[in-house]
Each structure stands twice: as structure tokens, then as C-alpha cells.
Point group: C2
Chain length 410, copies 2
């Protein structure tokens, strides 16, 4: 090994990612909801690899995989997550975990590097049971009551039941040891088209946007779809669709330059073809890195809801389920990732905000944090066809390992 | 017993209806999906009562309860259904069955009436597995392949599995004996406000509207709700909501005086808060007694879908799932129900079309058929709070029994 070039192995990185893709495979992606059998098998797989790399590993009482090194010197925390959205992509999460694993393998045994990389896989970043429950537990932001209340958004199964089913009930949840780490670094696929369209290799994340989430519920009158004349109907589903269209018409005039909003789920109750829906519900989300913009949009949303209620056919209730916490990435981390890109990606990097939420925004509340992106083909993510060129995956891994080395050496 | 007044017992009618309400009770209504345990128990309850009334009873291979009388003279077929919509009302179906049961009890033992009432309860009028599968089977309109293909619209369980689970697999499906019956008569709650608002007791049904049903599917591009800019999105859910609003804006200018249309179910795929829906689907229904009106509206629907597809963001596919078959009620039956109303409801009746579908429209394809309505409080139906005043229930029963007597005597 030369003194300034670490024993990095790109083929090993690809092999590891493909091994994880083989657990819970769905088409070319994976289906690994939190606490599913393939998710748990992925955690075991990682624990095994980390032990082989000489780290002490635990899977804690919320399903976080955490590892520690006995090597002297500074410690850098690195990781991402292993569960997936339903029927989604193979890299969203595992990429950052395998990069961190590779960094630990390369750096920790190297006597010329002072310090070590400690790897984490945070549980439920994808939010099957809540939002960032794993990393928030690690930073001390999750109470036992929060866990009591958490439920799988699809099956309705409680988190307590899920933890019992996978054998984690009663296990302690690990808390961060303040001052142990110089910071946290995470790699991820971009999940957008910025890098691809600019022929770039690395995104240096400047900030992570916050996510605000709402349940908007329309109450009308359930009735027979054949005998109830159009003019006397109080159709909650129709009111909901009008509301969605109004949002789409009015938000562009009130939003910020990078605000995005999405209606991800609509439920009509009772949902039968011959019944006028008496209740309709939508899950609505807004994202921005400026809470002031969201304040303005939430005011608009609530005034639109009040207008519908005032018209008298249906009443509308807006309930905020989640309040965003945008986070700034550490300046030194940004600079270091950029320098590593100059060394290993021909400088083809760009500074950019993250439109997606990541565990790094949670870790950023207690330590310096940084993130880097690799390109997503076609910008596609949260879908099984999500992908990144093998060459970009390897370049990204190399930049990541180098950034870790430089951060520890700083 | 006097020669022109039959031994009618209104208290017995109410007791029977309440006995059926007690099977599968939900709040003040019932939850008896087709082939559920309470549905099957209701069929057994009816079979027992019919046997007690001297009829020979069978439950056939599709769950129809059918009964025959050995009395000489003309036979009148009368009935309705016993399963319910999910968490729905206690009278929708049972009212007509219990009226028919009461007519058989009163008329069949009476030697002064030539002929008998034969009672039927048609399976799955509420369409958990299809549309009018029970009565359509009886008239010869259901093949074995249709049964192979039928599935519970909520659970996805096949009809074959359901029939096996309730012990009906392998049993023959009964077919009507052509020429046996002088016709079919059915009573039902109105499920609208016409009778109530006119302070009327009986609706004499002139025609039953047809139901046309469609699956409208929007295909866009599934993507990440944080990283995908608003201007590049192909949000299938948003396209669907715009389409619903367009229908609501454009249909009133093209519809007939009594056309109704309903979007009863919306599904966004994958239905997660952080994912832009790539596919969205709606179940859409139109009802009219004039197929010409529906032809015009379906043309409009398809041209609207083509316009959306042409705009290029999302493509729309319109699939007709069900084609309506409106039916005219027999003139003699209408006249007879009206005359019975004059005798027992003070003439407070009105001729009206039925906005709801009923098994009578299926029976009308092979024999003369008639229907009568009793008032629905507040017009509410397909909801557990559905109800009718006891006095109106009894008046209706009396009119029904009298109409049966007159039809047999004619």
C-alpha cells in the first residue's frame, strides 16, 4: 500500500451491494419494509460484515445496527439505512451503508490513518412506522410513548408488535456517546436529475430540506349512488379532488423556488362503487429548506380548507402530522467532500441542497454532518427501476473513502 | 277470517325484520357481506321460516334461497336479498324478503285465494362478487366461467373459495322453470327522498335504471416526492383529481334529467406520502334509464381521456366494467300496486323510476315484474343509519300482501 492511496476495492463494493439486492429482491430492485424478514436478514448480513472488519457490533432495541472500533484516535460515524420503500430500488440506503463499510475496511486497519470509521445503519429511515425513528432514537429524540404510538402505515401493525416479532422487544435502544465522534457522513443516490443532466459525479450537499406532512379529511354525507340526486349530494370525494386541483392552481403563486408538494395517498370511505363517499382523506406533504415558505403555504392551505367548510357541503379538517426540520451541512465536511471529488472524480462535483430527507439531518442536530450524492439514472427513485452506473457507484465509493480519510486526518 | 281481508300481521313483520337485524348487527344496522357468517345464518333463518310456512326450500349452489308451493293455481315469485353492503342498513334487502314471507304466510294457506306466493332471496344483489350474480344465475345468465372469475371486491377472495368455505361448492344452481310464475314482485326501501318529501307511503316503480361502470386508469411516472421538481413531474394522482373535477364541470351540460354519476373509489399507487404516484385508478359509475344518454356521456368521457393522454404528462385508459340494462316494470303490476295502495295506504302513492338497481330488473328479462317502494327516512341508505318508520313498514307490508293477492286473483 502506498502511503497516500488506500487499499480501496470497487469490485468488493459492487459485490456487497448486489448481495444486499439479493435479499428481498423484487424485479431489479428490492421489497424490504422495516422489520420484514428480508430487512432483518439484511441487518444480520451487515452485522456479519462489520464483525469481519474488526468492529464490535450491536443491533439495538429499535433495529439500529451500530458498531464501534477500539482503534485509538478520532472516530467518524458513517452510514445510512437498509430497509426500503415498498417495491423500491436497490441503492436507496444500502449504497451509503456499503460505502461506510468499505471506508471502515480500508481505513481502520491502516496504521497510517489516525482514527477509525464507525458504521451505522439507521432503522426505518423510509418511514414505515414514523419518521427517522432509528436515528432520532440514537440522538435521544424518541420516547417510549412515541414507540407505543408508532404503527406500520400500511398494515396498521404496531411497532411494539413488530419489535416483538423480530426478537428486539426488551432490548435497550443505544444512545450516542456525546463527543465520541468528530461528525457523521452519509452517501446516498441523488434521487433527482441534477448530476446526470450536468454530467457530474458527486453532489456535495449544502442543506437538507424539511418535510411537513398533513392529513386532510373531508366529511360529507355517505349515500346511495343511484337514488341520491346530483344537486343534493355532499360527496366528500369530489370535494377532495377539487381541493387537490385548487392546491395545484394556487400553490405555484405562493411557494418558494424549490418548494415541492405531493398528495401521496387518497382514501374514499367506504370506497365502494355504488356509494357516495361520506368521508375522504388525503396525505399531503410539503418540502422546503425555508420554514418561512412553509408557514405561508400552510396558512393558505388552512384558509382554503376554511373556505370549503364555509360553502357548507363538506367540512374539511387539516391536521399537521409532521413538522419539518431542515438542516445545514457542516462547512468543513462540504469542503472535504469537494476536495476528495477533485482527487478522485476529476472535480466533477456540484454543491446542492437535498430535496429528500435523510438521517444526516437528524445527526446534524448533535454533531457536524455531511452528505454526498452519486447520480441517479433518469432521476428515478422510490421505484424498483432506480439505478446508478457501476462506474459512478465505484467513483462515489472512492470519493467517500477519501473524504473519510481526510476528515479523520484533519 | 273474512273473505276479502287476509290475516295480515304487522307485528310479525316487524319482529322478523328485527330478528334479521340481530344477525350481524352493526350499530342500528348490519354488516353482512355476501357469504359472511351472518349472511349465511340469515339464509338459514329464512329457510326455517319458509319451511314453517309450508314451502319446500332449497339453498342453491350460488346461495339463492328458493321455495316452492304444492298449492294448485297460479304462482307469484316474490323476494329480495339478505346480504348487505359493508356496515350498512337493516332494511335494504330484508324488507322485501320479509314482505314476501308474510305474503306467503297469509295467502298460501288461504283456500279462498287461488294460487300461491313463492319466496326467493337472491344472493349478492349488493355486488360484493359481481352484479346480480344470484338472480342472473336463476335466469340463466351466469356461466361457470363467470363464477370462476368472480372475486370479492374487498378481500380478493374468489367466489369459488367463498362457496367452498360456506359449504355450497358442488351444489347445483337452480334455474327458473319457464312458465311457472305469473311474474315477480319485489318491495324495497326507496333509498331517496321522493316519498318522504311528498308525505307519500308507496312508490310504484315504473322502470329501473341501468348501471354502467368503468375503471379509469392514469399512468404517469412514480418518483421521489422530495427530489423531483414540480415542473418535471408526471403525477398520476394529480391527473386523476383534475379529471374528476372536469367530469363534474362538463357532465351537467351533457346528461339527462335524472342521470347520476359517482366516483366511489380512488387508489394512488404506491400510496405512500413520500412518493409521487405513478399510477392512479378510479371506479366510476353512471346511471340512467336511457342508454342513449349514457352513450353520449361515455363518448364525452373517452374524449376527455384522449385529451389528457394527448397532453403527454399522463396517459388515461377507460375500461367499461359493466354495461347497464335498464328495465321497464310491467303495466299490470304497476296498476295492481297502485290499487293496493288505494285500499291500504289511502292512495298516497306515486309512480317513479328506481335510481337503484334491483334483482327485479334481472327477473324482468324473463317474466312480468313489478316493484314497490316504502319511504326512507332522510333518504339515507347504504349506511348503518338507514331507517323507515315502523308505521310505514307495516303499511308497505299490507299493500304488498294485497298486491300479491290481487295479482294471483287477476
Amino acid at each position: 500500500m502506498s502511503d497516500n492511496r488506500l487499499q480501496f476495492d470497487g469490485a468488493r463494493v459492487l459485490a456487497d451491494l448486489n448481495a444486499l439486492r439479493g435479499i428481498g429482491a423484487y424485479k431489479t430492485g428490492v421489497h424490504k419494509p422495516t422489520f420484514s424478514e428480508p430487512h432483518m436478514r439484511s441487518l444480520q448480513w451487515l452485522a456479519q460484515r462489520l464483525a469481519e472488519a474488526g468492529l464490535a457490533v450491536t443491533i439495538d432495541g429499535i433495529g439500529n445496527v451500530l458498531s464501534t472500533s477500539t482503534k485509538s484516535g478520532p472516530k467518524l460515524l458513517a452510514g445510512s439505512h437498509l430497509e426500503s420503500q415498498n417495491y423500491a430500488g436497490w441503492l436507496d440506503g444500502p449504497l451509503g451503508v456499503v460505502y461506510a463499510l468499505e471506508a471502515a475496511r480500508v481505513i481502520n486497519p491502516n496504521p497510517t490513518v489516525n482514527g477509525a470509521v464507525e458504521v451505522a445503519a439507521w432503522c426505518d429511515e423510509e418511514g414505515h412506522f414514523g419518521h427517522f425513528l432509528g436515528s432520532r432514537s440514537y440522538v435521544g429524540g424518541v420516547t417510549e410513548a412515541d414507540i407505543d404510538a408508532a404503527r406500520d402505515r400500511n398494515s396498521g401493525r404496531t411497532m411494539r408488535e413488530a419489535l416483538r416479532d423480530v426478537g428486539l422487544a426488551g432490548r435497550a435502544r443505544a444512545r450516542c456517546e456525546r463527543g465520541r465522534h468528530i461528525g457523521y457522513i452519509e452517501a446516498h443516490i441523488e434521487q433527482g436529475r441534477t448530476l446526470e443532466s450536468g454530467d457530474l459525479r458527486i453532489g456535495v450537499v449544502t442543506s437538507i430540506i424539511g418535510i411537513w406532512q398533513y392529513r386532510i379529511r373531508f366529511s360529507g354525507e355517505q349515500n346511495h349512488a343511484g337514488t341520491t340526486r346530483m344537486d343534493v349530494r355532499r360527496d366528500a370525494g369530489l370535494a377532495l379532488t377539487r381541493f387537490c386541483v385548487d392546491i395545484d392552481d394556487r400553490f405555484p403563486k405562493a411557494c418558494g423556488p424549490r418548494t415541492v408538494w405531493t398528495t401521496g395517498r387518497i382514501t374514499l370511505d367506504p370506497g365502494a362503487p355504488s356509494i357516495i363517499p361520506g368521508v375522504a382523506e388525503m396525505l399531503f406533504q410539503m418540502r422546503d429548506d425555508d420554514p418561512g415558505v412553509i408557514d405561508r403555504l400552510e396558512d393558505l392551505l388552512r384558509s382554503m380548507a376554511a373556505d370549503v367548510t364555509a360553502q357548507g357541503r363538506c367540512s374539511v379538517a387539516v391536521e399537521r402530522l409532521r413538522t419539518g426540520s431542515p438542516a445545514m451541512m457542516d462547512a468543513t465536511f462540504q469542503h472535504t467532500i469537494e476536495a476528495a471529488s477533485a482527487a478522485f472524480a476529476g472535480g466533477r462535483s456540484v454543491r446542492m441542497p437535498s430535496g429528500a430527507g435523510h438521517d444526516a439531518q437528524v445527526l446534524a442536530t448533535i454533531m457536524p454532518a455531511g452528505m454526498m450524492f452519486v447520480p441517479s439514472i433518469g432521476g428515478i427513485s422510490h421505484h424498483w427501476s432506480e439505478n446508478t452506473d457501476d462506474a459512478d457507484i465505484i467513483t462515489g465509493a472512492q470519493v467517500f473513502v477519501e473524504a473519510c480519510r481526510r476528515l479523520l486526518a484533519a
